[in-house]
Amino acid sequence: MAKIEVDYLSDTALLTPLTGYQGLLETGKNKTSLDTFEAVDSLKGAMKNVSQRVVGRDKLVSQTLLALLTKEHQLIFARPGTAKSLYGKTVFGQFENAQTFSIQLSQGTTEEKLIGAYDLAMFNDGILWNKTEGSIITANFAFLDEFMDANDMVLRTLLGILNEREFINGQQHEKAKLHTAIATTNYLRVTDASEAVLDRMLFKARLNPEVDIFDQVLIDRVYSKHNGHVVAPDQYIPMEVLAELSGIVNGDNPNRLITASNAVLFLKNQLIRNFVEGVYEQRKQKDSKANRPYISPRTIAKSRNTLNASALLHGRFEVTGQDLSTLRYLLTTVQNDGGATTQNDEDESFLKALDDTLGAFSGKDLEDIEHLFKINDFYEAYRENRQIEAKKRDNIFKKPFTLLSEILGVTSWVEVNQNTFSNTLTAMNISNPEVQKVRESILHRIN
């Protein structure tokens, strides 16, 4: 089937099927193994199901898809009545053999509600052991309603499980099966514990109660059909399929690595910097005492996985410049706009930062970046005592003589020393100041 042209900036870019194929439904039934891109399309099909049940939330669904693929968590700010519980149940309801742990948190919720009660028999033998069966530790998915209402003790317990995916309590040490959690809250409470947990929620969204007139009719139609209940999908996605795909995205599958050039990673970091500055400027215009937005090194590091997910969703094993646009789901708090024409401030800052970043570097600059990192890789290998050779490039007149010498068995490759690297770097003609900074950093390391 013909490949569908994707508008990378549209809200449905990540949900567009790769080949017009509508999911696992027709071809996947009797297959013992799935082709990677068939699996991607089946996952997109599942998300399309969600999108049809929870109307007008394409950006949210796209972000959830990224959270599932990167094995990360999503935090949704939402007011009552915005179908957040329906959303969580519908998303997790797409997967076969998946255990979902759901809880409504409050100040009085205790740790045991999350990790299971003490095993009394073991306690009498002097062993502290929580019966984790049916708790968040053994669940594949978690829906944490009114997340910010939890007290600090509970939030700290959640920290380990959400991030390390481990439960450690004295002798008891269990791997948590948790793949993805969706947490909801209707306000932000800032404490030391909540800030740390918030940072673990890589993806953040806001559900506005306002929807546009067209979507409102669609909601009415869906509601009258299902009366607000969760509807089972025609076909479930096996948990193994999701685990396989997220393994590829997170680089855990050595046979299916997603590659990214140094230049695209450089652009990614420039984009994040420009975005932070843009949002800061925008905030300062409204309040002169506004704080600079904080994007943690963890988020920056994990942004690579988001790029990988984007590449995979677009049917590639290589990250390209187009995937940079997917970072909007990571850097901004996505929200439905209550209409097709409006954009929120963060989204606007992101698009501006993307435009500025792409416009700031020419093809030559990107080539320079690639060379700089390549030289750096050779230098690292040299420092690890690997035998590195270098050959001075000849000018056009000298080239035939060199060729002749090589034919006669006289090699022009010589062993390198520190100067070889610094001379190569210094001789590069770099005009872009940002790229020059990269060269300075590498030179600083070498000298």
Partner: protein
Amino acid sequence: MAKEDESNPYAQSEDLTELYKSWGIFDSMQVALEQLPNNYLHILNIARNLLDGKPIPGVDIPENFMGLLERDQKTVYEKRYVTRTWQQKTNFPSDSIKIRPIQSLRELPQVLPPYRLLKTTNPDIFAYKAITGNLPIIEQQKPRVQTEEKSETLEEVVPKLVKGMSKRQAVYALMDVSMSMAENYKLIVAKSILLAYFKKASEEDAQVYFRAFSGDAHGRTDCLSPDQFGPLARNVLGYPLSGTGTYIGNAVSVAIRDLFDMREERVRNGLETEILLITDCDSSDYLPIIPRSISLHTLHLNGGDETYHRNSEQRKLLTLFRSKSKTFTQLNTSGLNIPVDLEKQMMLREELEKLEEIHKEMDLAEIDKDKGFQKRVKKLAEMSKAYEKMFVENKEHKELSQKAQALRRKVSGEGLKKRLMEKLKAALSLKSSIQKRLKGLKLPSNDKLSGTLFDFRIRK
């Protein structure tokens, strides 16, 4: 009617400009019109008329008393910017209860109910958890208060101080809020006069102090700079009647003590300070000795009922009030009657017609750009709403206000539409720029180096 600007038939009439200026007392309230109850507007309306030297309909105010309220004839207006800074305190009630681990066995009664059950079902676990600090307890906390410094700069049109204009340094007013003030519009008149008096004093940069009293003197409200007039005026407007009995002597003593405490040196040096006492003189005590440096102006609101003061005790009291007051003014408030102001209605209607005409001839871009026009529409909508609220029964005011609101909505809606269109255009152009850049973006292959001084390889 004042002469209009002949060169521009659509210009705002001078009379209307005067009316808006006169309603400056409302602007200095620092509150939205919707938040003001209708009766507050009546009081403000009377107050602004008093400041302009116009009498209260149905209440005869002697000329010498009007001098205390009316703005100086030499008044020149000026525009000034007042920066108001305040601390906004926000309570976070969600933090009022905190769950934390037990720290001391004294906290056992605060253990959460589900864990208290553990004491019965498994005392060993309960004891273990209590000793190891692994029991959650509920702790009541004070609301967390976050204080934020806020400031805003407001534009005010106020009288300019000029030579020859009276200028007092401090004024003090006492308002009787005993239950007897409820009759015969006494409280309405008292509040109107008080507001005019305070406004005039605050425009003179005088320090203003206010206390209400009934059985006791109530808490004092100070207005030490013109930007504090709003809170003071809101306090006066909303002051309720209270208490049993009226002790005027006590209230005046408190005021004198206040003035001595605050302005000791000034009062000792013989500089004049005045106290305005507004009461119906139905007191249970006598006035104290009034120091020479303080002038007491008494406004006796008798509400037309003379029966109060027929007995000898009351007559003696009144004589005492007269003798101790620099001015003693008696007002019969029972005839208060505020008719529908047809003249103002006509002025506002004329303005509406002019603005509608201008609007017809403007396009979207012009409307969005012309801040002066937008301001004029906004002011008219606000003013006609105020008159609608004051005269709720009057159909013409209602109709006028509805038309003005409609025009305002249209103007602001069109401005918004224009801005949205611009935003959409900018967003589309940004998107198309990104799409173009993405299409043109060619990432280099990272296979090998090219064009550098040296080529590198790992020796096989």
